[in-house]
């Protein structure tokens, strides 16, 4: 990226003063190497976001930002409904409430190693992954609506997991304000048999070893011990979320002129929060958040069943569950004033600092666990929200590495079988229904997640707590 438009505010903060139609500045958090590698499209998209009606403070991009749809992936923007603010389907993304949850196993890598092959095979057999796979449930119309209202709470009520899980999920497992009536029959049709499925692309279920503790106080509070193994699940709202994103994006594109919104890019389609379309989208999008929470909860249950079978007595306690494609109504302090804002996070993780009322009691004094997913073969990280981070980017941090190479380039450079063998040589077992899918998701096709996390830490967005290395990866 050309840096001539930017003023460097600190080691890891870059600012573009408003020009043209921008209403607020654009700010990118990244080190110099990461921002130089970013596509110029990130600049273009972020400055477009800064021009949207009702935007507050600044349009932000995280260190893993890359070219998205309308909004950059790794973009954060907040809007005030009373100031004509908008909600954007593109600002949330197609995979609504895609996110990560991480569970303790309480087992050490040494204890897992003898059973690693068996665990990998059993998890691959049990967790539906990839194109065309179906989950363990078939939902009729009433059950579908109950799931869309209840989220993970609905799943727990149906025997998938325990009430203790709910406290460790954003919104305590159930997003308020969901309106299943705003979710189309097409979207519900796509979801009938998809609850409890991983999906494909960069979605996965991994067993990961904690290889480094960077903040022992927070690690103690999250009960993370070096050498122990955790399970991380990365997936979203499946077909239902994709269909909602598709349908509302189209409606917002067509309705924009009527709302007096001049779109520099169709993908930036949005509607005033106070319009009927804006409200309809919020109701449907919240239902999709519940769908994602229910989905990860059911997959958690299937994972626990496999562990109960292969390693009886193992207790998989949930550390936390974060969503990184959302729009949520939150209270933030802007220029000393407390304001209610609709915060879009597209490929960005909420990172509430200590004392935030949304955090569960046991974690309130330390801050929110921020879960950063890697890609097969690379590291994942657990960070913690900080006091300082609350004042940056509306308490948001990065979400992962972000691609640095297209799928085509990746398949030209790597072959699935060779990659699986190479990773096996490093002690990482890959299980996937598609070798081409594995090649397209090659670890080398992604940015260096460690550099992204380092930049997030240096920028004060969140503090590094632990580094995780994959042992087993079930890839969709």
């Amino acid at each position: 990226m050309n840096l001539s438009h930017f003023e460097r505010m600190s080691e890891a903060e870059w600012r573009v003063a408003p020009f043209g139609k921008m209403r607020v500045p654009a700010v990118i958090y990244a080190d110099e190497a990461l921002i130089r590698e970013m596509d110029d499209k990130v600049f273009e998209q972020l400055t477009n976001v800064a021009a949207l009606p009702g935007i507050v403070q600044a349009a932000y991009a995280m260190p893993d930002a890359h070219w998205g749809y309308g909004f950059p992936i790794g973009g954060v923007a907040a809007f005030d409904a009373d100031a004509g603010g908008v909600v954007s389907a593109g600002g949330v993304g197609f995979d609504i409430s895609c996110g990560v949850r991480t569970l303790h196993t309480g087992l050490t890598a040494a204890e897992i190693t003898p059973l690693k092959q068996r665990l990998a095979d059993r998890l691959f057999a049990r967790i539906p992954a990839g194109v065309g796979s179906t989950g363990p449930l078939r939902l009729n119309a009433n059950e579908m609506d109950a799931m869309l209202r209840g989220g993970a709470r609905w799943a727990v009520e149906h025997g998938y997991g325990s009430a203790a899980d709910l406290d460790r999920i954003e919104e305590h497992g159930c997003m308020a304000g969901a309106e299943p009536g705003q979710v189309s029959e097409h979207a519900k049709r796509r979801q009938r048999d998809e609850i409890g499925t991983l999906g494909s692309g960069n979605h996965y279920l991994e067993l990961q070893e904690i290889v480094e503790i960077c903040d022992s106080k927070a690690a103690d509070r999250f009960r993370l011990r070096q050498g122990e193994v955790v399970v991380s699940i990365h997936c979203g709202s499946r077909g239902l979320g994709h269909q909602i994103g598709t349908e509302f994006l189209r409606q917002m594109v067509i309705a924009a002129p009527g709302h007096g919104i001049d779109l520099p890019d169709r993908e930036l389609a949005c509607a005033p929060i106070k319009s009927s379309l804006g409200q309809a989208y919020l109701g449907a999008m919240r239902a999709a958040i519940n769908c994602a929470l229910a989905n990860r909860q059911v997959i958690t249950h299937l994972t626990r069943e496999v562990f109960a079978d292969v390693m009886p007595g193992t207790h998989l306690a949930l550390i936390y569950d974060v969503s990184h494609n959302t729009c949520k109504l939150e209270t933030h302090t802007v220029d000393g004033q407390s304001r209610r804002l609709y915060v879009h996070r597209k490929g960005a993780t909420r990172a509430f600092g200590p004392g935030h009322p949304a955090l569960p009691n046991e974690l309130r004094d330390i801050g929110q666990p921020v879960l950063i997913g890697g890609s097969m073969g690379t590291a994942s990280y657990i960070l913690v929200g900080t006091e300082a981070g609350m004042a940056r980017a509306f308490a948001s941090a990065c979400h992962g590495a972000g691609r640095s190479m297209s799928r085509h380039q990746a398949t030209r450079q790597w072959h699935g079988r060779a990659l699986v063998d190479e990773l096996a040589g490093q002690g990482i077992l890959i299980r996937s229904p598609s070798l081409r899918g594995v090649a397209e998701e090659a670890p080398g096709a992604y940015k260096d997640v460690s550099a992204v996390v380092e930049a997030a830490d240096r920028a004060g967005l969140a503090r590094k707590v632990a580094k995780l290395k994959p042992l087993v990866c079930i890839k969709g």
């Binding site: 749809y69 594109v253 993908e267 081409r436 899918g437």
Partner: protein, 140 residues
């Protein structure tokens, strides 16, 4: 390259699908094949089940996105892959029959699921050689 064909074009996180043909309908058909090729080799998909699709949009570009999204819905809800299409377009209304078969993981080795067709890289029109071109990026 001349004549009726499809191709992919690069996008950092996702993938672009492009159809080229002598008519708008032929370009839409090729774009749909390009989308199947994101998931699997279209030659491996036996066209033995038919699904009817109808879409209507304010312009040709939105019609392409609607057409691909209608196929994505049918692929997802019925767990199908498509390899043959019969498309009729009048004005901005499209009627089509798509033929395909159920996803077979062992046979098709599906690489990735298509989540939705997008407005990125969206273009429908004639190219310099007078052929119709229909393209957009699909989110995977």
């Amino acid at each position: 390259m001349n004549g009726v064909h499809w191709e992919h074009f690069p996008h950092q996180a996702d993938i672009g699908v492009r159809g080229i043909g002598p008519t708008l309908a032929a370009a839409f058909e090729q774009a749909a094949l390009a989308m199947t090729a994101v998931v699997t080799d279209p030659a491996k998909v036996v066209p033995d089940r038919a699904v009817e699709v109808r879409c209507e949009a304010p312009d040709d570009e939105l019609l392409l996105v609607d057409w691909l999204n209608a196929l994505i819905l049918e692929m997802a809800a019925r767990h199908l892959l498509f390899s043959r299409f019969d498309i009729h377009i009048e004005g901005h209304t499209l009627h089509a029959t798509a033929w395909g078969e159920a996803v077979d993981t062992a046979k098709h080795q599906p690489a990735v699921e298509v989540k939705g067709a997008t407005y990125t890289g969206l273009k429908v029109g004639r190219n310099e050689s007078g052929q119709w071109l229909a393209q957009c990026v699909v989110d995977v």
